[in-house]
Symmetry: C2
Subunit: 164 residues, 2 copies
């Protein structure tokens, strides 16, 4: 079995995939900009990925994902989408935080946990015993918390319901 990719290597793959997905040519420069690194770092990373058979890249030439590279990139992206959805729709995190965290978590969360998160989202979708209402209540409760007040029906910081 091949050594697993590092988080960084997965990030390079995902970034190339996204650039292509947006209809642009993946250039060393644009990859560097997206990842917040300098061009030599990209050249180096592409070399390791090339050796592993995930991208094709000749000196001064085009950067392309191989079939295997594209497959891996899609997997990373799938993990990201799932985490992002959870952070956004369940935890109600602001978009920038959700995006940032999904981007870190996508490389480290276990498959089992990922699957469970997916189940949780499915459950919220199909449950007809008030699961989505609970999530809606959570959002209400959060905004009461922010005002330092108690929620209409659930106790707030002070333990007492408020009028909101």
């Amino acid at each position: 079995m091949p050594k697993p990719l590092t988080p960084n290597q997965e990030m390079y793959l995902k970034t190339i995939y996204e650039i292509v997905d947006e209809g642009s040519e993946p250039r060393v420069k644009s990859i560097a900009e997206r990842l917040g690194v300098r061009m030599p770092s990209v050249t180096g990373a592409l070399e390791t990925l090339r050796v592993r058979g995930l991208v094709s890249h000749d000196r001064y030439g085009d950067v392309r994902l191989t079939v295997r590279g594209r497959k891996t990139a899609r997997e990373v992206k799938t993990r990201n989408d799932l985490l992002h959805k959870f952070l956004l729709e369940v935890l109600k995190l602001p978009p920038e935080i959700a995006a940032r965290d999904a981007c870190v978590l996508e490389h480290v969360v276990s498959p089992v946990t990922l699957e469970r998160l997916e189940s949780f989202l499915n459950f919220l979708r199909v449950c007809n015993r008030g699961a989505s209402e609970t999530i809606a209540h959570f959002e209400d409760w959060l905004s009461c918390q922010e005002r330092g007040a108690a929620c209409r029906e659930c106790p707030g910081p002070g333990g007492k319901p408020c009028a909101s």
Copy 2:
């Protein structure tokens, strides 16, 4: 501002903290065993942590956390506990998976997300509009899913309720 610690460095700190917490002397060997690395790795890591003022350690001498090191270790442990609780109590993950994932996530999750997870757990505790019931339903639904059946009231994979 000091450079942030790497996940690894946080792990070393947390490990030493736990060993002390259990009433043992933190030895290079026991730290190595817990972290699944060899002794030279520990010696090296202790040196970087020493330079950063987080542990005290003389050649062949005792390993101790400094005040700052202990503070950091406690912070890591707090993050771990919170994540662990969430993975266990909300996602209903098996203990080994929850422990493993909490241990990775503790180093990378943003403070905002951590706080939100804490809010979520608080919400489940204090909500009197059925939040904890929803989580209980999730657990039921999961076991139905495992049997490939539908839940009593929420639709399962086939979209239809079952008798469970």
